[in-house]
């Protein structure tokens, strides 16, 4: 027994994988020493069990496993929460081990937290982002229960707490390192002052904390001098003074986000003097203009990542001055910024280490692209998404020089042709990500070149293109492909999908949105050939039937399924998915007219992880909706045009579903549901969206005609 365990441990330490763990724990071989790894202070409850159980037969054999081994087993189960749950149900010692092992807690509702905190004493990270309402009392209990073990707390999606709650957490948990208070729009400087007492804080997010002013951020800057990451996105109360004080006091800052703030060149100048600053985001900082950038003097060698997107006032003179002092830059994002001309890109010459350039949405000239090609030779990432003015000439010059390119985004570059594709595929054979949605001038021959040359591709987006089955067949060499988006490719059919299914076993995400040529045979092949499939979009693939869903139900990792507008799908298909895919979190069955209450009952029974569902136009009544309301995780519901739904049924469902955060409803229901009830649900953290769209006549009759 001991040797078995020892071997097991060695195996685990060696990192060898094993699929099934079978231990002969029930053999009657006596073992004087339960385990060589056991500690002297082993679970006292086991000792109690020993004294209690007078005859050795009743002793639980699992007790012989030391805590250390149980922890090692639990480490292996980290990615599978359901298995961990099963593990904890084996026996008491397993239960305790699981309780002590868990480091992270993500409760669905803050009401569950007191019990959870009592069960898991050594939790380091509390993620409350699923709880719409977190009161100060909850935060008090978090602080009191976890004390110094708590290192990270996430309140980014929660409301209802004040600075008093934050203060209790900060005061009780001295080791707090990470705090996310984004979207706390009603937090004032008092809360910021409370945060300022967390001396060990290293990472802090305050996005959209609009009431925090310079005084508040001043308290944080003085108090939290170990800060390495600070996000002040949308903090409109903070001006140059606050930012400058942060830069003066928090010398350890690596990562600073000042996006959409009112910081000006004067503040930026102080920020750029931070000795270790690596990542600076200045998205939409409209107060930083050319003139203020020209006066920048102090060199910021440590800066590696700079995001200047949406900063309209910056022009080539200012940018040149800024790039002059940030010579160590590796990533530069200038999306939606200014026109990319020769004079602008010539300043890239100083950036010898530049690896990534993003020019999304900019107006680009061929001369500008050629200058980039001359200036940069070690690019690995280039994004020209939605750029106007990208020509074959310009793009080719860049890809010919940068043969190491791994990520290329040329979405909506409508002017490029097969010539560019030939140059891309011949020089950049190590491409991993290629996104080229809506490149309408590229012919089907061009797409064939991709598959023939770029075998390392993992992420491919060819939505809305001339791609055909031959092109898909060419991808048979891309064995690593994991994300494939081929929506609105009207020329592809089952034949192409079968090639993909045969050659891309690692496929995790498949998007076939409105690729109307796809039928059951293709989907069946995919479901068979790609068992790791997690996300599938089959919306408006009108030929899809229950057979496809039954096939997909074999992909047990499936978590997102969109079958919107597939009128031939019925309850049977949805039931198969519900039973076969327990990890399902998002389901869109809008306009699947034949899905009825039966599917909902089974879904409610099996898909306990469902977060989001769209039920519009289905044949679901009060019964189905009420059943669905019992799914505790459910947060987001869209319920439009359900014929069988009455106001009372809807009210009952809303009341029963405690975790709702967003519900889309037909505006005709608004006067029919009692106002106090709506207010009560809103108080729990739910947002109602009242939609006033007219009922669209289902064209199922049309579909049926074509079927026959």
């Amino acid at each position: 027994m001991a040797e078995t365990v020892g071997n097991l441990c060695r195996k685990m330490h060696g990192g060898e994988g094993f699929d099934t763990l079978t231990l002969d724990l029930f053999s009657r071989a006596p073992s004087p020493a339960p385990c060589s790894y056991s500690k002297p202070a082993k679970r006292p409850r086991v000792d109690g069990a020993v004294t209690m159980g007078k005859d050795e037969d009743r002793q639980n054999p699992f007790d012989f496993l030391s805590e250390e081994i149980l922890f090692l087993i639990l480490d292996r189960l980290e990615s599978e929460p359901l298995s961990k749950k099963s593990f904890s149900l084996v026996c008491r010692s397993f239960y305790t081990a699981e309780s002590c092992h868990r480091r992270e807690l993500t409760p669905l509702r803050s009401g569950l937290l007191p019990a959870a905190l009592a069960r898991y004493p050594s939790v380091e990270k509390v993620d409350l982002s699923l709880c719409p309402t977190v009161t100060d009392t909850v935060l008090f209990s978090v602080g009191n229960c976890l004390r110094s073990s708590l290192r990270s707390i996430d309140l980014s999606r929660s409301k209802g707490f004040s600075h008093a709650g934050i203060e209790s957490v900060v005061e009780n948990c001295a080791n707090l390192v990470e705090m996310n208070l984004s979207n706390a729009t009603d937090l004032s400087d008092a809360a910021a002052a409370a945060i300022g007492r967390a001396r060990n804080l290293e990472r802090l997010w305050l996005a959209r904390c609009k009431l925090v002013t310079d005084m508040g951020i001043g308290c944080i800057a003085v108090g939290c001098q170990k800060l390495k990451l600070l996000c002040l996105k949308w903090c409109l109360g903070i001006s140059d003074l606050g930012v400058a004080l942060v830069a003066v006091k928090c010398k350890q800052l690596r990562n600073l986000n000042l996006s959409f703030t009112l910081v000006t060149g004067a503040g930026l100048e102080v920020v750029l003097q931070l000795p270790y600053l690596e990542d600076l985001a200045l998205v939409g900082c409209l107060c930083i203009d050319d003139g203020s950038l020209l006066s920048l003097k102090h060199e910021c060698k440590s800066l590696q990542v700079l995001n200047l997107s949406n900063s309209q006032p910056i022009n080539h003179a200012g940018l040149s001055s800024l790039l002059n002092i940030t010579v160590g830059l590796r990533q530069l994002n200038m999306a939606y910024c200014c026109m990319v001309t020769h004079s602008l890109t010539s300043s890239f010459r100083k950036l010898a280490k530049l690896q990534s350039v993003k020019l999304d949405g900019c107006e680009v000239t061929t001369a500008g692209l050629k200058t980039i090609a001359n200036a940069c030779v070690s690019l690995t990432e280039l994004s020209l998404r939605k750029c106007s003015g990208v020509t074959d000439d310009g793009l080719s010059s860049i890809v010919m020089k940068n043969k190491g390119l791994t990520n290329l985004d040329i979405t909506c570059c409508g002017n490029i042709t097969d010539l560019s594709l030939a140059n891309i595929t011949s020089s950049c054979t190590s491409l991993i990500t290629l996104q080229m949605e809506s490149c309408t001038l590229v012919s089907k021959e061009g797409f064939r070149l991709i598959g023939q040359h770029c075998h390392l591709l993992e992420h491919l987006d060819l939505t809305d293109n001339e791609l055909d089955d031959e092109g898909l067949k060419a991808f048979s060499g891309c064995h690593k492909l994991s994300i494939l988006k081929i929506g609105i490719c009207l020329k592809i059919s089952d034949e192409g999908l079968i090639h993909i299914a045969k050659n891309c076993p690692k496929l995790r995400e498949l998007d076939l949105y409105r690729s109307a040529g796809v039928k059951d045979a293709g989907i069946r092949a995919i479901a068979h050939g790609c068992p790791q499939l997690q996300i599938t979009n089959l919306a408006y693939c009108t030929w899809i039937t229950d057979a496809s869903l039954r096939a997909l139900s074999k992909c047990s990792d499936l978590n997102t399924l969109e079958i919107r507008g597939c009128p031939q799908v019925s309850s049977a298909g949805v039931i198969a998915i519900a039973v076969g895919c327990p990890k399902l979190t998002k389901l869109d069955i809008k306009k699947c007219y034949y899905v009825n209450d039966a599917a909902m009952l089974i879904l409610a029974r099996f898909s306990r992880n469902l977060h989001q569902i769209n039920l519009s136009y289905c044949s679901i009544t009060n019964v189905g909706l009420l059943a669905l309301a019992s799914v505790g995780c459910l947060q987001n519901m869209t319920i439009l045009h359900l014929k069988g739904l009455t106001p009372n049924g809807l009210a009952a469902a809303l009341l029963a579903c405690g975790g709702l955060t967003k519900v889309k409803l037909n505006s005709s229901f608004k006067p029919l549901i009692p106002r106090p009830l709506l207010e009560h649900v809103e108080e729990r953290g739910c947002v109602f969206q009242w939609i006033d769209k007219p009922f669209q006549v289902p064209f199922s009759s049309l579909v049926q005609e074509t079927c026959t």
Partner: protein
Amino acid sequence: MDSKRMPIFEASSSGGDQSRNLNQNHQVDVSNSIDICFDARSEQSLIKFSSNLDHNSSDQSYQTPQFKMNLDPRAMLNNLDFLEQKIHQIRDIVRSTLNNKGRISTQSNEFAVQQQLINTDLTSIIIQLISTAGTLLPSMKNVLANGGSSVGQIPSIPDSASDLGLVGTSQQKLDLVSEGTELSEYEELIKGLGEWDDEGIKSMPADDNDVKDSGDGVSGENLPPGSYEVLQLEKEEILAPHTHFCTICGKGFKRDANLRMHMRGHGDEYKSPSALSKPQKEASSEPVLLKRYSCPFVGCKRNREHKNFLPLKTILCVKNHYKRSHCDKSYICRKCNNKKFSVMADLKTHEKHCGSDKWLCSCGTTFSRKDKLFGHIALFQGHTPALPMDEIKGQGTSDQGHSCEVTTKMEETNDLFSDNAIGVTNVSDFGNAEDDYGFFSMNIDSFNFGGIDGFQ
């Protein structure tokens, strides 16, 4: 009219050309030093007067018996006689006008001249009457003296003599509206008075520079040590409430122009345009050596014994410097009961802004501007911006630690927050505005504020 007093004045003004160092006038009696006339602006007149003192020290003692011995019954009798004499004079004048009125009514020009003479006579006699009557009362002088010593009250208590002078001139002006020839001169005089007033006010901000010890010009002037003449006033001279004194009656004035107005009452010879106009500097004729001043406090950087001597530029600088650096700060701010000043103007400047210091540091220091607070915090380790008390209290929590640091100082500064309602209400109004109008607009405001304050 006292014709015999005129030569004295003349003599004093004739002796004024020789510029002499004040420090050589050691023989000046300390009791007399109060009589020394200091002109805030022109050093010329100072020298004039000091030399004047030397020359006519015997005259001086004879001329101002009523001033020095105001409790002496003999002097009082003298004064009463003087008054009687004056009243007779007025009676005569009025009578003569009555007689003349009928006769010269047709010759308007001649009559007007006559009328003007009578008027000036009348006003000067009345002024003399009042001033002499004033000296009769011993308490009156004390009041004036007290008022003088506490410089702060001077602006609020109108100087009776100067007021009268002004009234007199304006009356004359009204009478002389028809008169073309002399009108311009009088107007100039009135304008000149106004200028004096203006300069008196303007000099306040300039004084502030003195406090910082840099704005005195001389440090920036870089005058070579030999190129200017160094004068040093004694402590008593500096602290004297009045700097201009009437040589006849001894009355003190703060301003030269007021003295000139006053002098008209002593006789016709003081009414000539040249006597009434501002004394001109005859700098153009001969090169005048620059004058700079030394502080009498030994060891001070402004004292000429100091090895890095920084001279003071004007007498006003000397006065302000001496009060600020070497005198007790006797003026306490009535708002905060904390800040003390030795110069009244400084107190007024402070009181204007006191209480608007809403930017508070954890060390208890308050700032009127946010950028100043942030500069302070950036400079010192461990200092934190302190939120206004009502913001924390309003949200109903015990904000320990933080507020403790604040309250210690708060107790010291006594009613900085409770008494000073302005500051508190401002802050709370601010908060309300945020609630009402949403945070966006409000934040734009605060940004602008910061922008203006901070980095421009």
